[in-house]
Symmetry: C2
């Protein structure tokens, strides 16, 4: 993919291409790598997302703003954003990392995205970076919801039921398969009052419960 | 102290005095308080200090930059900076906080300083805030030293002696006074090779050792 396409996907064109190159360089590739830029980018990104949330939610208390930001600026979200702009295709990796699929590894892609933001900041200044972050994360910020951000599915489901004065959901393991150390759990989540019965799978009982709760929440919140 | 004096001490004059007032308002005083501004200020401050350190130490690895920043942006340092500009005299506190000396409490003063930085950012933008942070924390950043920042005295002392191929210092409790739960320890730190013998006091053995090590390090590093 040509760098020009990347520029249009991130909404920013570099004056100094060396900075872009450094942002895309993993430490396995060469001595001039992207870790210092990542340090800078992380702090600029947190500052800009704080600003955008502060503006969008003029009444939200500090603790909620903080939680909302953490739900947006994290490895999972940055990895997904990086994948959307096909950042992996531009990364400069060492041979070992190339062979083991480093270009698709969440930590490498998320870190490179932060480094990219740090490079934009050095190349174009704070306001240009704000524009790029808005371009990259704006859609996620637009749908960010203080009521649900950062809460796990079981907590959300319980709060939903409490608000309707209903009893807590019932979780039960309905199957375990696989050897020890590689077990798979299947859990059912039941809410008789809403006639909801969902199932979830996971490598732990807890993750299976979360999966079942997520589905029950999706159903319950629409009723 | 007139607000004009504060303006010259922080190196910034507000266009919108309401923002300054909000930054100085503790939650015990009124519903429109400084906590949202503190959230914003914390992130802007971290971003600006990251930038200043990135520029001042062009070769320093990411982990060291991070540690150095943490040694500058923390409650202790922010409190000292707030005290220097006499921020406490301008705070708006509830009656209870006034009576219990809230204007001198480290957490209240440090939080208000962050809120002040957030207010400058909203009032004058990023570049103006950078100027104010440079004015407020520049001297501390100028003397920041990656070799010592964030390390405790015992670690520093041990590294100093290792570098000179000397054995580790000897710590011994030479007195304990006071009742249980309110004990005071006096500890000696001895480095026979340098003919150094220092004492330190603290409410725990560990803190007394640190105090003794700090004095021994100050002596030893000048030899």
């Amino acid at each position: 993919m040509p760098v020009q396409t990347l520029a249009s996907l991130i909404g920013y064109e570099f004056r100094n291409p060396d900075l872009l190159r450094q942002a895309l360089t993993h430490r396995s590739h060469s001595a001039v790598h992207n870790e210092r830029l990542e340090f800078l980018g992380d702090s600029v990104l947190n500052c800009i997302v704080a600003t955008l949330l502060y503006e969008r939610f003029p009444q939200l208390p500090e603790g909620e703003l903080s939680r909302l930001r953490a739900s947006l600026v994290n490895q999972k979200n940055l990895f997904e954003t990086g994948r959307r702009i096909e950042l992996g295709a531009h990364l400069l990796l060492g041979d070992g990392e190339i062979k083991t699929g480093g270009a698709r590894r969440p930590s490498i892609v998320a870190d490179a995205l932060e480094a990219l933001i740090g490079a934009i900041y050095l190349d174009g200044g704070f306001d240009a970076t704000r524009g790029a972050v808005q371009h990259l994360l704006g859609p996620a910020i637009d749908v960010a919801d203080p009521r649900t951000a950062g809460k796990d599915a079981k907590t959300l489901l319980q709060e939903l039921l409490q608000a309707r004065r209903m009893p807590v959901p019932q979780y039960s393991v309905i199957a375990t398969t696989g050897e020890a150390h590689q077990q798979c759990f299947r859990v059912e989540c039941a809410i008789p009052e809403l006639n909801i019965r969902t199932e979830g799978e996971g490598t732990s009982r807890r993750s299976a419960e979360q999966a079942a709760a997520r589905r029950a929440y999706d159903l319950g919140s629409r009723m």
